[in-house]
C-alpha cells in the first residue's frame, strides 16, 4: 500500500509534520517494497486559501492510498474521501515510527475531520 506521511523534511527519518495542508513535505512509502520518495508541498504552504484541498490533490496525484498526519480539517477530509484515501491522524515521531504505528494498529482511522478549518 502506498502511504503518504506529512513530514518536516525529506526522508523517513524526518519528524512527522502535524499539519496536513501546510505540511513542509510529503514522504511517500510503499509498505510492500519499502521504497520511499519525498515530495514538496510548497504549493500548499504558500496557498492563500484551500491548502488542504490542494494537498489532497497533490497526494492523490502521487498515488497515495493512505495518509498519516497529525490533524485533518473538514475540507481536506472531504477531498481525501473523494479521492478514496484513508486518513489516519494523531501520528508523532519520525516517518518510520509513524509507519510502525500504522502497522501495529496504534493509529485510529479517522471517520471525519478532527480539527476545524484553518487549524494549521
Amino acid at each position: 500500500m502506498k502511504v503518504v506521511v506529512t513530514s518536516m523534511g525529506e526522508g523517513v527519518d524526518s519528524e512527522v509534520d502535524p499539519r496536513f495542508g501546510r505540511a513542509s513535505k510529503f514522504v511517500l512509502v510503499d509498505t510492500e517494497t519499502s521504497e520511499t520518495t519525498s515530495a514538496d508541498n510548497s504549493a500548499g504552504v504558500d496557498a492563500t486559501h484551500g491548502a488542504g484541498v490542494q494537498a489532497a490533490e497533490t497526494i492523490s496525484r502521487l498515488g497515495a492510498e493512505c495518509l498519516i498526519t497529525g490533524h485533518c480539517g473538514p475540507k481536506a477530509f472531504r477531498a481525501l474521501q473523494a479521492a478514496g484515501i484513508e486518513v489516519y491522524t494523531g501520528a508523532s515521531g519520525t516517518v518510520t515510527e509513524a509507519i510502525e504505528q500504522l502497522r501495529s494498529g496504534d493509529l485510529q482511522r479517522s471517520g471525519g475531520p478532527d480539527v476545524g478549518g484553518h487549524w494549521g
Binding site: H49, A51, E57, K75, L80, G84
Partner: protein, 294 residues
C-alpha cells in the same frame, strides 16, 4: 460625483458622518451602505423599502460525463476551489471567488455556472435620501462581490455617498475605488492616528484626493492635527466630544436633528463636498460579477 466615507479604525463615526452629510446636502442624494458585514445606516433613517434582491457569485458545476479529469481548471484556480481527486472533480463553493476562469479554460466545455447566494441588496427611500444597502449572509466571507453589487446600483447623477467598511483591506478598497473624494473619519487617539495614516496611504495609492473629519475632537491630544498639517491634509470638520452626541446616536437619532448647533457644521462640510471636482484618473469602479459574466 462619488464621495466615500472611510476610516482605518472602526467605530470612529463613518456612519454618523455619512448620514448627517446626506441630510445636509441639497437635492437628491444616494447613500450606499457598503459596510455589508454590519450595515447600520438604516438605523438612523426611517426609510420606506423599495426593493430587495438576493445576489450571489457564480460557482462551477462539473458535468461528470464530459469531464476527463485533465486538471486545467484546478491548475488555474488560485483559491483551490476545484480539485481533481481520484476519478472525479470536486468543487468547494465556499472557496470559489466566482471569477469564471475554470469554465473558460475547460477544453471539454464540462463546466457550467450556478449562482450561489451570498447576501441581499436592499433599496429604500427617506425623503431626499435613496438608501442602498448590502447585507452579507452570516458565515459568508466574500465581501467585495456584494459591495460591487451595491455600487452597481448607484445612479450617474447627483451626489453618491458611500459608507465604507472600516480598515484598509480588500473590502474597503472595493467600496472606495472609483470615487472622486474620500472623507477619512478619525478620532484623536493613538489608534485613530495610526489607522488614519494607513488609510491615507491606501487612498493615495488609489489616486483619490482625501480630507479628514476628526470626531470626538478634544477627547485626546493634538497629534492628528499635527499629522494632517505635516501631510498637507485638509481637516474638513471637527465634531466636538459631547455626551449629547453619544446619547443621540444611541437612540438612533441624527445629529442634525437632535443636537442644536450641529447643523451648521455639517452644512459647511456639505458645501465643501459639493465643490469637490470629479476626477478622471485613478482606478475605475469594478464591475459586478453579474456584468462580468453576462
Amino acid at each position: 460625483m462619488i464621495v466615500a466615507i472611510a476610516s482605518g479604525k472602526g467605530g470612529t463615526g463613518k456612519t454618523t458622518v455619512a448620514v448627517n452629510l446626506a441630510l445636509s446636502l441639497s437635492g437628491n442624494v444616494q447613500l450606499l451602505d457598503c459596510d455589508v458585514e454590519a450595515p447600520n445606516v438604516h438605523l438612523f433613517l426611517e426609510a420606506q423599502p423599495e426593493g430587495r434582491e438576493v445576489v450571489g457569485i457564480p460557482v462551477p458545476v462539473v458535468d461528470a460525463d464530459l469531464c476527463n479529469q485533465c486538471g486545467e481548471c484546478s491548475r488555474l484556480c488560485q483559491y483551490n476551489a476545484i480539485a481533481v481527486l481520484g476519478t472525479g472533480v470536486m468543487v468547494f463553493p465556499e472557496l470559489c471567488h466566482g471569477c469564471g476562469g475554470c469554465a473558460l479554460v475547460c477544453p471539454e466545455d464540462a463546466i457550467s455556472e450556478v449562482m450561489r447566494p451570498i447576501g441581499v441588496v436592499e433599496e429604500s427611500r427617506s425623503g431626499s435620501v435613496h438608501l442602498v444597502q448590502g447585507r452579507l449572509y452570516v458565515g459568508e466571507a466574500l465581501v467585495p462581490p456584494l459591495i460591487r453589487e451595491v455600487r452597481a446600483r448607484s445612479c450617474e447623477e447627483g451626489v453618491v455617498l458611500i459608507d465604507a467598511p472600516p480598515g484598509t483591506s480588500c473590502s474597503m478598497i472595493a467600496a472606495v475605488r472609483g470615487s472622486d473624494f474620500v472623507v477619512l473619519v478619525t478620532e484623536p487617539t493613538p489608534f485613530g492616528l495610526n489607522d488614519l495614516e494607513l488609510a491615507v496611504e491606501t487612498v493615495r495609492v488609489l489616486g483619490i484626493p482625501c480630507g479628514v473629519v476628526i470626531n470626538r475632537a478634544g477627547a485626546g491630544d493634538d497629534r492628528v492635527q499635527e499629522y494632517c498639517a505635516a501631510e498637507g491634509l485638509e481637516i474638513l470638520l471637527e465634531i466636538p466630544d459631547d455626551r449629547r452626541i453619544a446619547e443621540a446616536y444611541a437612540r438612533g437619532l441624527t445629529l442634525v436633528d437632535a443636537i442644536p448647533g450641529i447643523r451648521p457644521l455639517f452644512a459647511s462640510l456639505a458645501a465643501r463636498i459639493e465643490a469637490v471636482p470629479p476626477i478622471t484618473a485613478g482606478y475605475p469602479v469594478e464591475k459586478s460579477l453579474a456584468d462580468v459574466h453576462s
